[in-house]
């Protein structure tokens, strides 16, 4: 679901905002079982390295989208 104030909602922008919300939640929220868990992923930093490009492209888009009207 998506509700936008834009007169002509951009499908791509909606998709990117949803992705940004997804990244925020999956990587930044959720139950953490520290101490109990081999936080695999080789190194947790790798997650953020891998995500950096993704997040920055989404953030840029969000700002562009917000300013495009």
């Amino acid at each position: 679901m998506s509700i936008r104030a834009e007169p002509e909602p951009s499908v791509d922008l909606d998709r990117q905002i949803t992705l940004l919300d997804l990244v925020d939640r999956l990587v930044g929220k959720g139950v953490v079982l520290h101490g109990d868990i081999t936080l695999a992923v080789a190194d947790i930093d790798l997650i953020y390295v891998g995500l950096r490009a993704l997040i920055s492209s989404v953030s840029t888009l969000e700002e562009q989208g917000a300013g495009s009207r």
């Binding site: 998506s2 509700i3 104030a5 925020d24 139950v31 695999a40 891998g50």
Partner: protein, 218 residues
Amino acid sequence: VIWLYAVTDHCPDALPNVTGHDSRRLQQTCTAELAGIWSECSREQPARLTEDALWRQETVLEALMDDRTVLPLRFGTVLGDVDELLAVLTRRQDSLRRALDRVRGCVEMGVRARLEPADIPNSPSGGSGTDYLRARAGEHAIAGTLHRRLAAVSSAADKAVRRGAAPVFVGAYLVPEPGLDRFRDAVHELVADHPDLSIACTGPWPPYSFTQEGELAS
């Protein structure tokens, strides 16, 4: 090595017909009260942090959410084996159950809004100090207005203001499922009342932002 997606209520039902990462079969390991949902993964490379992998994880959680209460785990949570999972579920049983009780019957909704009207400078260098302070106070007031309206139709709420090139309000709301229409109505009202804010709403999500990890960590 097993990749964990969620902790749920103990559930005698079969798992939903979706596959996990790498097309692996979803499996569950139950204690008397809880279930851990997982799939096998490679020890060498458990996580492929791609957009597809993030959506795969979300697809699994949404399918689980259809017939049980779900506590999503942080992406990248991997355990050595099922015995390790059973040990965690047993040791954390009370706090995990409390966390499940808090989100039972609820989904999470996300709301973003651009707080900065286009004609107000974003930094002191873009205008006078007075303009800048006025802009910051305005953001604070608008964020409060949005959050109060949405929190009033939610059972729990969380908000932040992110400062990139432009300030963005980011709110998360735990909404009882029967109240979803009421929540959406509130969003539509805000969109109508604040056409300049570029408000976006996403969801329903699994309750990622309301897993109360602080209490779980105790």
